[in-house]
């Protein structure tokens, strides 16, 4: 089945902006992603090694403010993202197991770099208190200083390093 075309980016942007406004109107907060991953991590560690969680200040601090990490707003929002992405992919005929990469590299290389990028992103999103959606996009919509700072840092660094990583993509 031939893939349908992607949505016009400006139309998509307006729709995304509206979703963002609804999120603000309903819960006074924007969108986010890495917070849900953090909830999952804390829950996971708590299940596997409850003793360890009790003795680590970081987890205790998190659990104090989030007594039920899997009952967090962002977790439910992220589940929605998975469902929403799936629906859109199904409608457009894009459901397919595959590794997307530049024709010049092997799938294995792509996966190794994906994991590496994931580690960096996971770490950075915790350090920076939010990722592209939570900190940069949402932060910019509310005009917060940190939103603009993290947007500039993320995209600036990616542009600066683009030359060195060009083999991965072009």
């Amino acid at each position: 089945m031939k893939q349908k075309k992607y949505m016009n980016p400006y139309v998509g942007g307006v729709l995304l902006g509206l979703v963002l406004i609804i999120a603000f109107w309903v819960s006074g907060r924007g969108l986010g992603a890495s917070g849900a991953a953090k909830s999952a991590i804390v829950t996971g560690v708590k299940t596997v090694a409850p003793k360890h969680v009790e003795n680590t200040a970081f987890y205790q601090g998190y659990l104090e403010t989030h007594p039920q990490p899997m009952k967090e707003w962002l977790v439910f929002q992220m589940l929605g993202v998975i469902v929403g992405g799936f629906i859109s992919g199904a409608i457009a005929g894009r459901l397919k197991f595959k590794v997307e990469k530049s024709p010049k590299i092997t799938s294995k290389t792509r996966l190794i770099f994906a994991v590496l990028g994931g580690i960096l992103f996971g770490f950075g999103s915790q350090l920076g208190r939010g990722c592209t959606s939570g900190s940069a996009l949402t932060g910019m919509a509310v005009l917060s200083l940190s939103g603009f700072l993290s947007m500039a840092a993320i995209f600036g660094t990616a542009f600066a390093l683009a030359y060195f990583a060009r083999k991965l993509w072009i």
């Binding site: 819960s27 929403g84 992103f121 208190r129 990722c131 200083l145 660094t157």
Partner: protein, 201 residues
């Protein structure tokens, strides 16, 4: 009126349910715009596909303008909106690390979940890496705790820092964004690739 949860109009559980619906909207829009494709995302940094820039900034300016108008009409109380705090060094440091992760991994957390939902295996690998990254951060927290909390500046708005009104700043951002969109479309023509199709309406 808004935010509904702060003013106690909806219950906590309704809020979570609405979060799920909002997430569906978020995921749907991301996927429909091809944010589930890492080559499309990475194209932004080589100029052959600037969709990310367009969608991202359109959403930001629509969101900013919309919030100000809703406040003007009295539909939402902006003082209840969460403003992310600024810890100068960790915000920048985190951003730099995320930028490196973006160019290597080709996704950001939100888009990786979205891509995984339609079967992209590299996105699954990215999510796995992300969990490892968060785990490293949590386990080694005492090592970077000081950096994490350094140079706390409260939760200032850019408009406060620049000394303008929110409306004026929003207007300026709209102009900047439209300028960038123009550049983006120009670059898509200039850096067009024979092995990559934009494939959009």
């Amino acid at each position: 009126m808004g935010p509904l949860i702060v003013n106690g109009i909806i219950s906590d559980n309704t809020n979570l349910f609405l979060a799920f619906l909002i997430g569906i909207g978020f995921g749907f829009v991301l996927e429909s715009n091809g944010f589930s494709s890492s080559r499309r995302l990475a194209g932004m940094f080589y100029g052959y596909d600037t969709t990310v820039l367009k969608v991202f900034f359109t959403a930001a300016i629509v969101g900013a303008t919309g919030l100000l108008f809703m406040s003007l009409f009295g539909w939402i109380d902006l003082s209840y909106i969460y403003i992310n705090p600024t810890y100068l060094w960790s915000t920048i440091g985190g951003g730099v690390i995320m930028g490196a992760g973006f160019i290597l991994g080709g996704y950001c957390p939100g888009t990786s979940f979205c891509a995984a939902s339609i079967g992209k295996l590299d996105a699954l690998a990215f999510i796995g890496g992300m969990f490892i990254g968060i785990l490293i951060f949590a386990e080694g927290f005492p090592l970077w705790e000081e950096f994490y909390n350094a140079k706390f500046m409260g939760a200032p708005l850019l408009s406060e820092v620049l000394g303008t009104s929110r409306g004026l700043l929003t207007f300026l951002i709209i102009l900047v964004a439209l300028g960038m969109f123009y550049l983006g479309e120009w670059s898509e023509r200039k850096f067009a690739r024979s092995d990559y199709q934009l494939n959009q309406k």
